[in-house]
Symmetry: C2
Subunit: 228 residues, 2 copies
DNA sequence: GCAGGGATTTGCGCAACCGCAATTGATTGT
DNA sequence: ACAATCAATTGCGGTTGCGCAAATCCCTGC
């Protein structure tokens, strides 16, 4: 029997409607999931109200799997952003698969390792960079991961509220709103029906990478304009 | 041949002096390391000056291994905090070990998975909590990971500068200094020769967990005292 | 014991950013 | 079409925390 046969034999498929909870942070009946179709948001919230979006899951991505190896509780919430289809495996099935096909385990290390590096990169960003730069980075990553080139610019595949952007970039609803509407004013992007269309990637990249040479972001610049 | 025999046969041991660089961020001759003895600091710096401490490595911990599975560059710097001994494996040796002993790969997933969860937890902390709370959390983690109970309280095993604390908690040298000296004034800890001794864990835990009910940390409280 | 150099503290001013509150704009259900 | 709900914007004031600069502390080497 090939690895693929084994994998498929033990998989449990499921259909999910839009805007529904796939699993809850803290839940203990953990399974390893792979998204076949659609989009899912993984977010974590603290005992205080604080919340962050950890990542977006697209077709082909694994999610919820790490918890099988740690404390057997999901570390975050998963919500569908669109209609979606997933398959999942029990801990027992997954361990058997990995034992008989070590390459599966090795691939898993690659994936988890990449996410670890991303998370650590994000830790540095949050610890050292300004809110505006973080929003710029967040948008750049989104365009790369889930952007579609159109006549209006690069459109992000699913609707995002200001609060979502804030939770991705690690700032507040208000700051996110101010930053984004400043960029709209500058003509670098547009939001239409919660869907963000980036029209000038280079400008965002400039904000994101700038050596903070007191050139200031758009917010500071527009404040100057009011004063002058 | 047992798994352990295989592992030992392909290991390369090395001795390291204190305060020396084990590997550099970006280096491409990557190996998987295990620390046998001593302590190591893993830190990441950006093209701007920004720097964060990602974690401390103690006896028995793996480090630098994830890079074998991702882009084959170390994602951070590693420096010894004490004299140390490590063993390491080439990518080839590690992959062979994992292929012939899947349990090794599965254990690796557990370890990387735990670190991923820690990193994500830290992302949330940085995105949502105050600098003072983050310093409190950092100290609590340090006491748990590398604390020794003594007559003077729980002492952290290796010397830490204020800048180190700042890089761990994601704040600045100045803020870290103000926060820690406020806590010293309150009698909750002492620093002696760069070594921090925590005398009142409960107070730190209170700061770390408080629902931010405007009870305020020590900094705000002492400002009040000056004003009053 | 003394000079030198890093580490730390702290006053001060300032920039970033938070968050309420009020308004406007958009979306949905009946 | 209209009310009700939800999202977004923005003025304003307040807080946090950054960061320079100067003073002090403390360790190390001579």
């Amino acid at each position: 029997m090939t690895a693929l046969d084994d994998v498929l034999a033990s998989a449990a498929p499921r259909s999910l409607a839009r805007d529904c909870r796939v699993f809850n942070q803290g839940e203990t009946r953990v399974r390893a999931h792979v998204l076949v179709d659609g989009w899912i948001r993984i977010s974590q919230s603290g005992s205080d109200g604080g919340q962050v979006v950890l990542r977006f899951i697209g077709p082909g991505d694994i999610f919820g799997a790490v918890s099988l190896f740690t404390d057997r509780r999901y570390p975050a919430d998963a919500d569908t952003l669109t209609d979606a289809t997933e398959v999942s495996w029990s801990d027992k099935a997954l361990l058997e698969l990995m034992s008989s096909h070590p390459q599966i385990a090795i691939n898993a290390i690659r994936i988890v390792g990449q996410r670890l590096q991303e998370a650590q990169h994000r830790v540095r960003e949050l610890a050292t960079q300004s809110a505006e730069r973080r929003v710029a980075h967040a948008l750049l990553r989104l365009t790369r991961q889930v952007g579609t080139a159109t006549a209006r610019g690069i459109v992000i595949r699913f609707p995002l509220r200001r609060k979502d952007i804030a939770d991705i970039a690690g700032t507040t609803l208000y700051s996110a709103s101010r930053i984004l509407s400043a960029w709209e004013r500058a003509g670098w992007l547009k939001t239409l029906d919660r869907r963000i269309a980036v029209e000038s990637l280079p400008e965002l990249a400039r904000i994101a990478d700038e050596e903070s040479e007191t050139e200031g972001g758009v917010i500071a610049a527009s404040a100057d304009r009011h004063a002058g």
